[in-house]
Symmetry: C2
Subunit: 211 residues, 2 copies
């Protein structure tokens, strides 16, 4: 069944890469779909792991532990929160969760209940950042708010499957192959845009059709 | 003589930090004065040294040598050049000059011929990036185009003085105390904005009077 028969409207898509533990990834997640929609694009979401890209591949320390940059990121985060009128129960300096269970939950859901994957990611991001929940384990993930229609038992099991682990590993490898290292990163065609500060350039790019 | 007597209009100012060897510092230098002017601000320019902030204080490798990030910066640079219709005779991968003579030239001029300091910086940035000149030595600096009214002999001597070295050292220390680590960085009051991608946020901040 092609789009014309089904009544489905096919839009071109861009890709949004983020790590659940990245505050700027969270901030971008709150804007990216609407930003893309304004230019007639849809957005595919891809959780990635800063622990692999930044720590292992780039060989850097965690950004918040980097002299000067850590302070800058804390200030940039406060500034962003003030501008957007956001209040979080989590600060940049709170202990970080291990984001792998959330990322596996996403990819497992994308495989088995695709339309619920993005709503799930939004729930988990809100629960981690806005509500201050720890979502390190499958149990913690299914113990709180989830999108309607997502079976918590199946999800809890799915998160721990070898298939979910393989999907995350493969997604992270793909992100590195595309050159993604930071969160958020938006990819439009072959063009990468890193950082929440780059979102205006993403919109300019989509509106102009590139340059 | 105060401003009301002299007819001078006093505007609030922001500070612009850049390294002569930073392509994004160069890009920002082409926009920052006009950006600030639109909001009724003037801009004080302060050359800084990435070799001190990034390499020594932050303990990082040069950004272009960092896996993934180096490639990203090359792509971001091309994209910026295409959008702005700029053509440079220097690429990110050409051998870098030692920027200290340029920075000392700036601070020496700021002390001895203040109104010519910013025009000098603009000349040197254009000569380095647009014309591909090497400006590592005082001789190379005075061998090319300089702002009218700036005495090349005095400048060549000034660059090598202990006073100019002390001014640069002190300026770099001050920039670090303010938390500046990258080029470009714009400081408005106590607020830091890092990166050419942050310029729209700078303008928003100045227009709104902060938030």
């Amino acid at each position: 069944m092609d789009a014309s028969e089904s009544g489905v409207t096919c839009l071109p898509s861009i890709q949004f890469y983020f790590d659940f533990i990245s505050p700027f990834g969270y901030f971008a997640s709150l804007q990216i779909d609407e930003l893309a929609r304004r230019s007639g694009y849809t957005v595919e979401w891809y959780p990635m792991l800063l622990g692999v890209s930044v720590l292992k591949v780039m060989g850097l320390k965690p950004l918040l532990d980097t002299p000067l940059k850590g302070d800058y990121l804390r200030r940039q985060m406060s500034r962003h929160l003030r501008r957007e009128g956001l209040a979080l129960k989590r600060s940049a300096d709170d202990p970080m969760m291990d984001p792998r269970a959330c990322a596996r939950a996403y990819y497992w859901t994308a495989r088995h209940a695709a339309p619920l994957a993005k709503p799930l990611a939004k729930h988990l991001l809100d629960r981690y950042w806005k509500d201050g929940e720890d979502l390190t384990s499958a149990q913690q993930i299914v113990d709180g708010a989830l999108p309607a229609g997502l079976d918590p038992l199946a999800l809890a099991e799915g998160i721990e499957t070898a298939a979910a682990r393989a999907m995350l590993r493969s997604a992270v490898e793909d992100s590195l192959k595309r050159g993604v290292f930071g969160s958020p990163t938006v990819v439009a065609g072959d063009e990468l845009f890193w950082g929440v500060d780059a979102l205006p350039s993403v919109e300019q790019w989509l509106t102009a059709g590139g340059w």
